[in-house]
Symmetry: C2
Subunit: 351 residues, 2 copies
């Protein structure tokens, strides 16, 4: 065993998260739902979005900035749309609820778009986009990020977040196609992970206020993230922020609370989920066979000089998920130490 990293099973990790939330006052069913989603993020290889975030969530609960017993309400409701008020609950619980509602509506109407406000950070975008897969539906999820790290193109005021999108599409014999991407070259979670691990960032992730490359993740507060494709990524971040934030009456632009720096203020995080029923367009089995064929076409392309393979979005996720299900989820010693200090504070059994 590596002295820097040890492994934990998905059930053990999930139960640790669940008992931590219960110790914070969350009901057991809600704690288990949230814990399963957070541990699933780690199982999927989203190291910056799983248990890594637990100390921050617990700190926010302790500071009164997150409601452990939210009462969700439906503010607006049409046949194929809804707007949910998350009552400042954990984002995982709000978006699990929103996604279930979207799938229920889409079963009849063909597509549904459910937005949420007064939610919070919900972990990786793909968690929610993947939920419709088992119902032969396509999932599309977009969120306003929980801290602004991106200025408008040409500017220096960080008015935008990484505002990610995830799209999940079922396949037949291959893994589902799952795109989960920030509209910035790197997600801020990756910067945090690099800082935690003491690693340098590649040139192109961030620049400083003079426009020069910034590669030390510990200096992240001195600069900002770069959008993909320059003005195009800025445009996507802006549009996604409007659709997930402004349209839902959730925070966007200067209203976004930096949840890394401030654990007390209600974040009013916005997200939306689209569930699209494949059966409203075609037979799901022939659709999935078509996705398999597309998968194989991409894989069969000759390679550029220097390239070692062609990957499909979701391919690495499936590989990591299989490996971690079998071998356990790697937890760096430093993170385990942070989590077990938290366990002492919460008076729960350690990880």
């Amino acid at each position: 065993m590596n002295s820097q990293i040890s492994k934990v099973s998905y059930p053990d990790l999930s139960q640790f998260i669940a008992r931590s939330f219960v110790a914070c006052g969350m009901s057991k069913p809600d704690a288990e739902k949230a814990a399963n989603l957070m541990a699933k993020a780690d199982l999927m290889g989203q190291d910056g979005h799983g248990v890594f975030r637990l100390p921050q969530y617990v700190k926010r609960i302790a500071a009164g900035g997150l409601n452990v017993s939210p009462a969700f309400s439906t503010i607006e409701d049409r046949a194929a749309t809804a707007l949910i008020d998350g009552d400042n609950g954990l984002g995982h619980l709000v978006m699990r609820h929103a996604t279930e509602l979207a799938m229920k509506k889409a079963k009849t109407t063909g597509v549904a778009w459910v937005g949420a406000r007064y939610s919070n950070h919900a972990g990786p975008a793909s968690l929610y986009a993947m939920m419709p897969l088992e119902h032969d539906m396509i999932g599309i999820y977009v969120a306003v990020g929980s801290a602004n790290h991106l200025p408008p193109w040409g500017g220096t005021e960080m008015l935008l977040s990484t505002n990610p999108i995830a799209v999940a599409i079922p396949s037949g014999t291959h893994p589902p196609i799952i795109l989960d991407m920030a509209t910035t070259v790197a997600a801020y979670g990756k910067v945090k992970t690099a800082a935690q691990r003491g690693e340098e960032m590649p040139v192109g992730w961030m620049i400083d206020r003079d426009g020069k490359p910034l590669t030390d993740p510990k200096r992240a507060s001195e600069g900002f993230l770069l959008p993909i494709g320059g003005p195009k990524g800025y445009g996507l971040a802006l549009i996604f922020g409007i659709l997930a934030g402004t349209l839902n009456g959730a925070a966007f632009g200067r209203d976004v609370v930096d949840f890394n720096a401030d654990s007390e203020t209600v974040t009013n995080t916005g997200h939306f989920i689209i569930a699209l029923d494949i059966k409203a367009f075609t037979d799901p089995d022939s659709f999935k066979a078509g996705i398999d064929e597309i998968w194989e076409q991409m894989k069969s392309s000759p390679l550029l000089p220097g390239a070692s393979e062609i990957r499909l979005p979701g391919e690495r996720l499936a590989q990591v998920m299989k490996q971690r299900t079998e071998e356990g989820i790697p937890i760096p010693d430093q993170l385990r130490s942070v989590l077990n200090n938290l366990a002492v504070d919460l008076e729960v059994a350690p990880l």
Copy 2:
């Protein structure tokens, strides 16, 4: 007047296009609908997607590759979704029909997603995304591009197109926010325009098969476009191609017909439009006021050293549209000559 460029009014341009289509056998109402959309593309500043494409469309009609009297049919129909078969009609007519259907459905259901197959090239993506604006709706349009110019990330086989997305969001006092972007650094239409104008392309638009920069647009067939954000842009092109193509039973991947090289084969082009009713989420006036506020926030950011201004997506479009409405649409002499040769062939009055 510049000796290289002369100006034409929107009505004159639209009427020229309409009479050209009528001469090709299209009904007058259809020809006028298509011509208005094509001339609007020029009015919007989308020079690679308006009248510039007319000779190509006419060539396709003459070759039997485009149906001038299509009978659209609704293959699948749910409360909030539909799948339209465009009967190999001009894309502009198919997507105008699809967008009207989506708006009608969304008025009741809140959101609607209408896909199309057996369509053709439809001009700039924003044409359709903008249609819902006047009904206080948001429009989202995605298409499978009409020729493959993009390999999967790391590969050299051009299995993907630029697969563009456009999103249009109404504002109050400012122009609507309109993002219209290819998933590649440059759209192929821009490469064609550069070739037409005899201009060099910037480094970063295309590479050749050895991975080296390609800047001569006349050598475009020797290389391929680069996706935004590397693997992220590839992922977006793939996902958009599946949603606009595979899901609709339209061409995607190796099935895509290069409409620049082949005027005879049915392209089976796929697109989709989403109409999202703002009233299903909030009061449209307060929403628009919120968009104005976001607009002003972005504009007020301090500038990076070297930057001259911050732009919102759609800002330049609104400026160009205003200017061209007042002063006319600039037509390079070379293009006018091509169009007037076409007029001779079609025995219609010249532009």
